[in-house]
């Protein structure tokens, strides 16, 4: 079954990821800083342009910044407008079953219609 406990397989995955990420980082530093002529003299000629060593991190950071604004905007767009019925009810409330009222028992949980809630709050003595 699925459990969040530390298992031996997970320890091995973690160590492999740790080594892999260090290797990727050292490779990125070599590609960005070592001059092209030295790499050519070693026979490694098929590298992407060094322009991308600067461009990709910049793209990533700008995307993170835009992501903040985008998430805020998506939230505002998904908020139901004031004239939509989603502020009053939804499918679960429409299809709920009424349980029978039993004496001396706590009434069952249900979605109370908004008219009834309003009467209870705002009309005194009802």
């Amino acid at each position: 079954e699925n459990s969040p406990a530390p298992l031996p397989e997970r320890a091995i995955y973690g160590f492999a990821l740790f080594l892999g990420s260090w290797f990727g980082f050292i490779l990125y530093l070599i590609w960005a800083y070592v001059p092209e002529t030295w790499l050519f003299s070693l026979g490694l000629t098929y590298w992407p342009q060094k322009y991308w060593a600067v461009a990709l991190p910049v793209y990533l950071l700008v995307a993170v910044g835009i992501g903040y604004v985008l998430l805020f905007g998506i939230n505002m767009m998904s908020t139901a407008p004031l004239n939509s019925t989603h502020t009053i009810t939804d499918n679960f409330a429409k299809k709920q079953q009424q349980k029978k009222f039993q004496e001396e028992a706590i009434p069952a949980l249900r979605d109370i219609p908004i008219s009834e809630v309003n009467r209870m709050f705002f009309l005194p003595g009802k």
Binding site: M76, T79, A80, L82, N83, S84, T85, T87, I88, T89, K94, I114, S115, N118, R119, F121, F122, L123
Partner: protein
């Protein structure tokens, strides 16, 4: 008989609620917002004209000044006629229906009538609106064939946005009229 009470809107500007009882089953509730202030009008006009003068000083093109005057005039007319709502009123007639009227600053009035067969209830609902949760009054409409379900929600007093104390007054007045249609059902 008419009575007027002062309240605050959701953004803090003072509004006035006027209640008139025309008959036992007919009531009119009107919410009036503040008029267009001379100081805000002068501030906006001066800002636009200063910006235009700054542009003229940079570009030496006198068309900028005439364009600014034109824009100010047209903008003021559009604002008064389409945007600035002075008074929103609700006329509840027990056996007939509910009429919602918005009066603009230029004198234009826009009216909507909802007949009583379509009205399920008038309630105070809370919803999220622009990073705030506000109370607003709304009319729940029903299909005449399906009296249990809510087919549409019509929010009221959208531009003056009264606070809860004013809304409770309007709610109580409307409920007094709406209750009468349960005790005295009409044969249609």
């Amino acid at each position: 008989m008419a009575e007027e009470r002062r309240f605050l809107s959701a953004s803090g500007v003072p509004i006035a609620l006027r209640r008139r009882q025309h008959s036992a089953s007919c009531r009119e509730l009107a919410v009036r917002g503040p008029r267009l202030q001379l100081r805000s009008l002068s501030a906006a006009t001066s800002a636009v004209w200063l910006a235009a003068y700054g542009l003229f000083a940079l570009s030496e093109n006198s068309m900028v000044l005439s364009a600014a005057i034109f824009i100010t005039l047209i903008g003021l007319i559009i604002y008064l006629h389409f945007v600035k709502i002075d008074q929103e009123s609700l006329l509840v007639i027990g056996s007939l229906g509910i009429q919602v009227t918005s009066s603009y600053a230029s004198g234009k009035e826009s009216t909507t009538f909802i007949e009583m067969g379509h009205v399920k209830d008038v309630v105070i609902n809370e919803a999220i609106h622009m990073q705030k949760v506000i109370y607003y009054l709304c009319i729940l409409l029903q299909d005449p064939e399906d009296p249990q379900g809510v087919s549409e929600v019509v929010p009221l007093f959208q531009s003056s946005k009264p606070r809860l104390d004013c809304l409770i007054e309007v709610y109580k007045s409307c409920q007094e009229i709406l209750e009468q249609r349960k005790t005295a059902p009409q044969s249609s």
